[in-house]
Amino acid sequence: MDLASFLQILDSTIRLATPLLFACLAGLYSERAGVFDIGLEGKMLVAAFAAAAASYGSGNVWVGVLAGIGAALMFAAIHGLASITFRGNQLISGVAVNFLASGLTVVLGASWFQLGGQTPALVDGMRFAEITLPFAAPANESGDLGLLGGIYSQVLSGHSILVYVALACVPLTWWVLYRTRFGLRLRAVGENPAAVDTAGVSVTGLRYAAVGITGVLCGLAGAYMSMGLSAGFLREMTAGRGYIALAALIFAKWRPWYALMACLLFGLLDAIAIRFQNIDIGVLVIPVQFTQALPYILTVIILAGFVGKAIPPRAGGEAYVKER
């Protein structure tokens, strides 16, 4: 493999890792606060749809972003209502949210745009422009940049703004979780809500805040899917990325920096699966399906505790009942 195609793979790794990273961090806030969320997929999907539809309608990509965040927040509110206020089963609520998104996007899309569930293609101004970082060589003049220059110009530069926002969210999340009072309480409410309650802090309030942040980040993930990664919404376009993000979250053992690593790894696998079909490594041929299934297989291995145990937040999945 030559340098150019190596750089291309890294470039698409970054692109493909971005929605995973947003969704993974989204799940991190929710699950660290003790609310399991297998509805990341649905929130991403509905956000992708709302973003593309609003952006097409208004001609402005930022209106699209707001609509995406709004839609994801509404779905997060359903999940919050079910799992915090009504103390329902968080897993079942997540399943319901995923189906709701999958059905609603097609029904509304098909009747608004008459294209069988997809939005019309978004043109310039309706989707994110690519940003060239300072001193980066334009894509067509990449003759002899060397490895470092190539990585800077081709891998790091030339993405839409949301890619950099996603990367910035990693240290931000680390700082919020480990260096702020809110973060301390958030982690506490996921481990021992009774203690937080005793200290006079509202468990419900904290959990809703966490679920709200999850909604915003899923909104950004969806907006990037339909306005950055592609130009418009396609039915079921998230294609299981919400579940991969969940897998990445477990892989990262619910920690932000490791989440970045896990998302980059899974993004790389995705990039490899798209670029090469079957990989011949001499002794045997690795089928593309294996590369596609690898994130899930790795997650099962991690969950099984064969390579370091993944222990979820202790109060995860349980509604908090104040004793009376």
């Binding site: 297998i38 079910a82 609520s93 399943v95 995923n98 098909a110 608004w112 299934a293 899930y296 099962v300």
Partner: protein, 363 residues
């Protein structure tokens, strides 16, 4: 707090949830500029109006009875098996291998072979998540979900690289021998003189599904294993104290659940498609969750809920043919049913309890 009378808990709560879900969908249909009343009429007429429509309804219902029973057995042991989709996919592989590789002399023997192979493959796919949950504490919801995706990738590999006939572009297996086609429901009813259309995929699997529902009922409430499952589901510590081995029960529950999911393939793969296609399950594994919740985890309720969902699926495809309403309206309805019956039961139950408490007080 007063508890609800049993009939209200079993009938009224699911019914109210269903009405709310239907109301939401009605609003949705009205919002996209269509008539909800016309829509529901097309659905009812298309799925119950002719014996052909009814056949399709029962065909879908058969799939959902299998997957619903599968989810409910795991629920009894307080295990949420979200992997019915993957287990049924693998069941399909088992059925296909049995039909393609073994020269059965008669369809009835082929059916027995398919039942055994489907159940074995489905159960095998449920085994590892169960073992990981019991032995290593891996959360079964996450592992079964991961196994769904792994099953899809595996099936893709097997169909594209191994089972695809030479020269075919479709990721699907060869057709099974025509002799293995299962008797249609129309033929069976014809024997007793009931005229029933033959142009639909409903087959003998429906009868098997009903028999299985009775079997599951007997297993859960009239055997030692059923008792152990329920005890483990209600109170794990107490069950342990009573000498019930949590590892064994978790594994048994998932083997049963996966095996029953796998049986779905007898209906869908051998009974209807007569070959193995990539997405043979078509989401029935997930509908099993809705069906189990709606049917209040009881085999009888599951059969009723399955027929309801069969109606929705058949009605949904009629809707897509007769109007411009997309059939995905049904997915919205399904989501709302799962939401209200599974995740928001207190929202319906609490006001009802108040109501019944008040009425009781007035007497």
């Amino acid at each position: 707090m007063d508890k609800l009378p049993r009939w209200a808990d079993v009938v009224l709560v699911p019914l109210i949830c269903l009405i709310i879900a239907f109301a939401f969908c009605g609003i949705l249909i009205a919002a996209i500029g269509q008539s909800p009343l016309q829509a529901i009429w097309i659905m009812i007429d298309g799925s119950f109006g002719t014996t052909n429509g009814l056949g399709y309804t029962l065909y879908y219902a058969t799939n959902f009875i299998f997957t619903g029973l599968a989810v409910s057995i795991a629920f009894q042991a307080s295990l949420f098996n979200i992997g019915g989709e993957g287990q049924a996919t693998l069941g399909g592989l088992g059925v296909a291998l049995s039909c393609l590789l073994i020269p059965w002399p008669h369809w009835s023997l082929a059916l027995l072979g398919s039942l055994a192979a489907g159940a074995a493959f489905g159960a095998a796919w449920g085994f590892l998540p169960a073992w990981l949950q019991a032995k290593r504490g891996s959360h079964i919801v996450i592992t079964t979900m991961m196994f769904n995706f792994i099953a899809y990738a595996l099936m893709n590999y097997v169909l594209v690289n191994l089972l695809r006939p030479m020269g075919s572009m479709d990721p699907a297996s060869a057709r099974f021998d025509k002799a293995y086609n299962l008797p249609k429901l129309g033929d069976i009813l014809g024997l007793v003189g009931i005229p029933f259309s033959n142009r639909n995929p409903a087959n003998i699997s429906f009868v098997i599904a009903i028999a299985l529902a009775v079997g599951v009922w007997a297993l859960i409430w009239h055997t030692r294993l059923g008792y152990a499952l329920r005890a483990f589901g209600k109170q794990e510590k107490a069950a342990l104290y009573a000498g019930i081995d949590p590892v064994k029960i978790t594994i048994y529950a998932l083997l049963l659940s996966g095996g029953i999911s796998g049986l779905m393939a007898v209906n869908a793969v051998q009974g209807a498609a007569h070959r193995l296609v990539l997405n043979s399950v078509e989401g029935a594994g997930f509908i099993g969750i809705a069906v189990a919740l709606m049917g209040r985890n009881h085999p009888f309720g599951i059969v009723i809920a399955s027929i309801l969902f069969g109606f929705l699926y058949q009605g949904g495809s009629q809707l897509a043919m007769g109007t411009t309403i997309p059939r995905e309206v049904i997915i919205v309805l399904q989501a709302l049913v799962i939401l209200f019956t599974g995740a928001l039961p207190y929202m319906v139950q609490k006001p009802l309890e108040h109501l019944f408490a008040k009425r009781g007080g007035a007497k």
